[in-house]
Each structure stands twice: as C-alpha cells, then as structure tokens.
C-alpha cells in the first residue's frame, strides 16, 4: 500500500466575492498532489493564483469547492503540519529579529534559552548574525525575508510552503540560501511546495515543476518531472545539458501562457 | 448601654445654613459627649441623603421632615425624632425689574420660576404660593437651577423672573438689590403666613426599625441636638462664627453673618414637633405630589417627641 500524499488539493475552485464588485474565480478545478518528501515548484504568470493555492494548502483560505487532504486526513481549519513563508511581510513588528525566529519555539513551550540558542544558529545560517537585536523596520527587505525563512524553518515542519522566498535576494545570497534549503530538505525529507518566478531556480531545486495557466480560472497546464541527479549544487547543475533541455521545454509552455494572459487582459 | 456607637448621618448640603444646628452639634463635640462616634456624609441634595439611608449605607438622615410622609406612601417607614429647623428657610423673590408690576401671587402667571430642582421643596413652596393666587402649577414654567452660583447667574442674566430658593443665595440676591422678597419661610411668622401653620423642616429621621432597635442611640443623638439648639438660642452671632468651620466662612464672612441673622429665628428652640406642623406639611405635600393620599397617611408614625422630651428633661433644666 502506498503512503497517503503529504498534501492533496483536489478539484479546487476559488471564487472571491467582494462587496459591490462581481465575483472573481481565481482558480477553477485545480489539482495538486505532493508526495511525502517531494519537492514541488509551482510557476505561473503573475496574478494567476499561486499564493491563493498556497493559502488553501495552509488552511488559511477555504476553497469554494474541492477537497484538501493532508497525509490522508481532510483539512479542517489550519494546517498544523505545515510551515508557510509568506510572500508579503509577515514578521511581528514588535519583536526583534531574534525574537521573531524564536517565537515558534516559544509557542511550543521551549525554554527561552534553548530557543535563543537554536535561533542564533539559524540567524547565522541565513547570514544575519549580529542583526538579531534589530526590529523588522530596521532591516533591509532581503534581511526581513531571511528572518522569515529562519522563522519558518526552525520549526522543522512536515510540509514547507514557500511563496517566492528568495526573490528579494541578490544572486549569490540566493544560491547560498538555495543550497541551505536543499541540504535541510535532503537531510530529512520534507514535502516542499515552492513558488517562484525563476524557472532556473524551480528546476534546480525540484523533483517536479508545475506550471499554472494565466488567470482568471487558472489551473495546472503542465507537470514536469525533474530527473536530475541528487545531491545537486544549484550553481553547477544549471550548466548540465539535461537542465537546459528541461528548461527549454518548460519555458515554451510558460511563454505561451504568459503572452496569452497578457493579450487576454489587453483585449478585455 | 448605647446599642450602636458608630452612627452614620447622611445630609444633603451640610454647609448650608439650613443644617447649621447639625454643624454646631458636631463642632461643639456634643455627639462625643453622648458617647457617639458620628460620621457625617454630605450629598449633593436632600433626596440623595435619604436614598443613602434607604439603601442601608447610612443610618440617620439629617433632612426635611416632609420626606417621612413621602416615604410612607412608598411603604417605607421613617420617623423623625428631633426637629432642628422650625421653618423651611425658603424664600420667594421676584426680580427687581418685574417687582413693580407685582401685587399678589396671581401676577406670577406665565412667569419663569427658578427652583433648586423640579419636584424639590423649593418647587413645592412656589406651587403652594401661586395656589394662593388661584394659579395651577402649569401656569408657571419651572426651571431647575440647582443651589449653587447658577442661581445668581440666572437672575443676573435675566433667565428667570422669580426665584424660590434657600439661603445664602437669597440673601446675596436680596443684598445686591436684584430681587424683592415676596414670600418667605425664613421666620416663623412668614411660614405661618404662607402655609397657614407651622412647617417643620430640618430634622433627624431614621427608619422606624432603626429607632425601635437602637432607642438609646437615638436618645443620644437627640440629646446632642437638643443641647445644641438650646446653646444656639443663647449664642451671639460671634460665637456662631467661631464655632462654624473656617471653610464655611472663607467665601465671605460678612455675608455669612448677614444671612445667619436673616434665618436665625427659623431654628427650632427646643427640638419639639407640633401636631399642627405635621398637618400643615401633609396638606402641602398632598397638594403637590399626587402619590401622597392624605387619608392613607398615618401622621402619628412620622414623628415622635418622646426622645426630645427626655432630652429636655436632661438639658432643659440648665436654662
């Protein structure tokens, strides 16, 4: 018997209603299944519904139709097995960087000293040692993103949901972070759903890349198994022929989709 | 043998001349002499002090006798046991500019009458007065002014034509020539003229229950008050001034003295109630408050002279 998928979004439809304005169906009949230990990237044109999908997986949004199951159990309310790195800023502004990283551990009842020790290790890992005493507004955009990364990963969640975690980082820092993430993931196979606009990043990290169609009524229009060997170094793997082949293939699908979406809006 | 040494007295506006005997008793230490430990709480108005006693947070009211009758109609039984003021000390004055046109109470028709509060004693006196001229309460418009400096301001600014108030406000107005007094109950004669009989005013009263349970305490209170009343009969104005707390005089010593001289005959000489006084009060109240039905009131229950008589026996002899 096969293990239940870590995350199963099945036939999800999301329709937003807002007062006065008409309803808006962002996602129609989308299905996304993530196996335990699988690293799935989701790419798609801006505004298609990637964050919405992740919100549903985290249990923050209830789909209008469709079912969400986590390790086989139907999801009711918050997804307690997941960690979520938000696209927008979500640090607690009244806590310093260090305290933002410890907070999840504190919620779990860990002693403060233990939490601080772990958090300091994480700040080092994300390259923010010595910045722990700063409040979020005293950090740069990229620093805040990294604090949020440490905040989520320190809890070692079963399912990691990440919404454009590295887009505010310079390429070098980004690659360092990507390698950290891969190391963490491979040490102790988590399930990861990773949203990005950078196709190279998606391919170099993932087991599978899912391409969403342009909104409204977005749905997955392509799934690509990435059969590159592991362990990978994100910088080096980009130069392999198989990578370039996959890149070209996925690129074609995406390009059409984006242009379609853009045209659609232009002629609306 | 005193049942309750700590007695809590409630009073509405202690510093007013109306309650001078209470202040004198307290200042001369007569309560202490009787073995009592009296605490006096002051309230913003007579009804408030009564409510405090009904609610059980104070024991004895120092207030207007008429309330015992009012309360009987609410099936709450009070009894007055010593009288401090034999007249209500309320006067009615008309503003100088209208004084020339005033001949008799019926000339007040349609005028604005300032009272301390609608429904209060000052309102009642005004109603009683206009009734003499054949007017109904609806023939005047009653304005509540409170008892503070608003009264003076209201007259100054011409917002009322007639005022029915206690002292010292009336004295201040009169002295400034702002008003002309047209009726007064500051003296026994004036009271007799207005009400057609004596009108008991400030007194100590307490729930019947309290008096029954604590006769010796009540006796002690009565003794102290009667002693003060007797002292006041003898006292010179200067002695009064020396006794009253400094704070009461800080406003204006001369004015205080002047006002005191205006009302000094209003204080009871011996603390005794008269049957005639009780009847007058009932008549006055019944004409004003429809809830009070004269035939259902048991007047005898509303006051007692028993304690005063004993007190007079003790202190009256010193005369």
């Amino acid at each position: 018997m096969q293990a239940a998928p870590a995350l199963a979004l099945e036939h999800i439809t999301v329709t937003f209603v807002s007062e006065g304005a008409a309803r808006f169906t962002a996602i129609r009949d989308a299905t996304l299944v993530v196996r335990p230990g699988e690293f799935v990237s989701v790419v798609g044109p801006t505004g298609c519904g990637k964050s919405t999908l992740l919100n549903i997986a985290a249990g923050l949004l209830t789909p209008s139709a469709g079912s969400v199951r986590v390790f086989g159990e139907p999801l009711a309310g918050l997804n307690r097995n997941s960690g979520y790195l938000f696209q927008t800023e979500a640090l607690l502004p009244w806590r310093t960087a260090l305290d933002n990283v410890t907070i999840g551990l504190e919620f779990r009842g860990l002693a403060r000293e233990v939490a601080v020790r772990q958090a300091e290790g994480w700040l080092l890992r994300v390259g923010l040692r010595g910045h722990g005493h700063r409040y979020p507004h005293q950090l740069s955009g990229g620093m805040r993103k990294r604090v949020a990364l440490a905040q989520t990963l320190i809890l070692d969640p079963q399912i990691i949901l990440m919404d454009e975690p590295f887009s505010a980082l310079d390429i070098q820092t980004r690659q360092l972070m990507e390698n950290e993430l891969l190391e963490l993931w491979s040490a102790n196979r988590k399930s990861v759903v990773f949203i990005t606009h950078d196709l190279e990043e998606a391919i170099s990290l993932s087991d599978r890349v899912v391409v969403l169609s342009a909104g409204p009524e977005a749905r997955p229009i392509g799934e690509y198994e990435i059969d590159l060997p592991r362990p990978r170094d994100v910088a080096e793997i980009r130069l392999t022929p198989r990578f370039i082949e996959l890149h070209t293939k996925i690129w074609q699908t995406m390009k059409q989709e984006v242009l379609k979406g853009y045209e659609q809006q232009k002629n609306q | 043998q005193i049942e309750k040494r700590d007695v809590h007295i409630a009073v509405g506006g202690k510093s007013a001349l109306y309650y001078l005997p209470l202040t004198i008793t307290e200042r001369l230490g007569y309560f202490k002499d009787e073995g009592l430990n009296v605490r006096i709480s002051d309230f913003a108005g007579g009804t408030r002090s009564l409510e405090a006693v009904v609610g059980g947070s104070a024991d004895v009211v120092s207030g207007s006798y008429e309330h015992t009758i009012n309360m009987q109609s609410k099936k709450i039984h009070f009894q007055a046991f010593v009288l401090a003021g034999a007249s209500p000390q309320i006067s009615i004055g008309i503003v100088s500019s209208k004084a020339a046109g005033y001949k008799s109470p019926k000339d007040l028709k349609g005028l604005k009458v300032g009272v301390s509060a609608p429904g209060s004693s000052t309102n009642m006196v005004a109603n009683f007065f206009i009734a003499k001229g054949g007017l109904k309460p609806s023939d005047i418009s009653v304005i509540g002014l409170g008892a503070g400096s608003t009264v003076i301001a209201a007259v100054d600014q011409g917002r009322v034509d007639v005022v029915s108030q206690t002292d010292p406000a009336m004295t201040i107005l009169e002295k400034d020539g702002k008003i002309k007094i047209i009726a007064e109950t500051r003296t026994p004669e004036g009271t007799e003229k207005l009400f057609g009989g004596p009108m008991p005013a400030a007194s100590f009263y307490a729930p019947v229950e309290f008096i029954r349970k604590n006769p010796n305490t009540v006796q002690a209170l009565t003794n102290a008050m009667v002693r003060a009343l007797l002292w006041m009969q003898e006292a010179s104005p200067q002695q009064i001034l020396n006794t009253v707390p400094e704070e009461y005089l800080l406003g204006n010593k001369a004015m205080y003295l002047f006002a005191y001289n205006n009302v000094k005959t209003a204080y009871s000489k011996d603390g005794l109630f008269s049957d005639a006084g009780a009847k007058t009060t009932l008549r006055a109240i019944a004409s004003f408050n429809p809830a009070v039905k004269p035939d259902q009131v048991n007047l005898a229950e509303t006051y007692t002279n028993a304690f005063v008589k004993k007190a007079l026996a003790k202190y009256g002899g010193k005369k």
């Binding site: - | 709450i76 609608p118 002014l145």
Partner: protein, 272 residues
Amino acid sequence: MNSRRTSRHLRLWQVLIVAGLFTIWHVTTHPTLLPPLYFDNPNKAAFFFGQPLEVLSRVWIWFSSGSIYEHLWVTLLETVLAFAIGTVSGLVVGLWLALSPTAAALFDPYIKAVNSMPRVILAPIFGVWFGLGMASKVALGVTLVFFIVFFNVYQGVREVSHTVLANARVLGASERQLLRHVYVPSAMSWVFASLHNSVGLAFVGAVVGEYLGSSRGVGYLILQAEGTFDINSVFAGILVLTAFALVLDGIVTLAERRLMLWQPRSGETERI
C-alpha cells in the same frame, strides 16, 4: 442564506436576554413575588430599581399622551449638536496637534489638564457662560465627546504607515492633500472607535446638563421624578434615552460600513 439565518438567531437571543433581564427585574422588585433578597423591607427594591411594568406603562403614557415629545426633541437636539460639534472639533484639534509636534508638545499638558477637570462641578460656570438653555447642555456634552475623539485622532494619525505616507508625499501631495487622502482615511477606524463611545457620552452630557439645571428635556423629567421619589419615571426616562442612543449608534455603524469598505475581511471566498 446562512448568514441571514444566523443573524435571525442572534436577534432571537437578544430578545430573549432582554426578556430575561426584565423578568429578573420584575421578580426581584415586586414586593410579594420573592422573599426579599437584599433589603430588609420588601418595598425597598422597588424604591431603588423601580418596577418594569410601571416603567413601561410610564413610557407608554408619555408617548400616547404626547407629553414626552417636547422634552425628547430638546434632548435629542442637544445630543446631536454635542456629538457633531465635539466630533468635528476633536477631529480638527486632533489632526492639528498630531501634525504639528511643536504645538502638541506645547498644548499637551493643557489638554490633559482640561480632560481631568470634573465637568459636572463646573456646570455652574457653563451656566454663566452659556445660559440655562440648550447651549450649556451642548457645551457639557462637547467636553465629553471632544476628548474621546481627540485622543483617538491624535494617536490614529501618528499610526499612519510610514511607507504609505512617504509614498503620498513623493507623489506630490501638499500638506492639505496628505491630510485628506492619507491621514484622515488612515485614522478613520480610530475615529469610528471613538464615535461609538461618543454617541453614548453625548447623551450623558445632554441629560446630566439638563439634570443640573434646565426647564425642558428628558433630564428635567428625570430630575422632577427624583424629587418625588418616582423612580419608575427615572427609569422610564433612561429607557427612552437608551433606545435613541442605540438608534444613533446604528447610524454611526452604517456610516462606518460604508467608509471602511476597503478593509480586508475574512471569509472572502464564496462557499458552494
């Protein structure tokens, strides 16, 4: 559908609670229904708390005879004026001080001092300045409403997001435009929080003002009733005022709904 059912349920519960309160009120104040709980004399409860049936009949008589309208009109007018003047002045002064740090530092202690003055005691001075008519009641109400709105606007403006503010300034907003397009909308939820509080206090100001000296108004009726220990009329007056306070608050809530449409709300997805 669903939400409408919930809201009907809610109304039902609210009515039940009111009915329950009235029942408790009735049985505890009706002399013979229960052994006296709190007071030794069974009539005392009725003396302090009135009796609901009496109170309601008093209300009924007032409205059916029409005698209340004149008083009610006066009180409502005073309340609405106090509310309007207090709100506008609180808003203006709050905005001014929040935007001018020097003025704020300068006047801050005075504002706080005035706020801590017991207005009821100063009522005679209001009488001197504003007479015994409506003006003095409105003034009393204004002193209550003003400070509530002021403190909230003052804080609300200072809570404006730094980035949004910087953005608007870079986009070329003049001070005036910043006020209209950034400070005021951003402080709106602060203002509404204070308005819900102010509605009640505007009523309190008007009634207490009348209570301290007047010739008309619901406060006058209450004072008159107190003089004759007619507690039922006192409660009848309070009941009538409360009903109108809820109506006024409803209007504020409607305005709030309309102006705060932009805020994110939970449950924005349609359920099928």
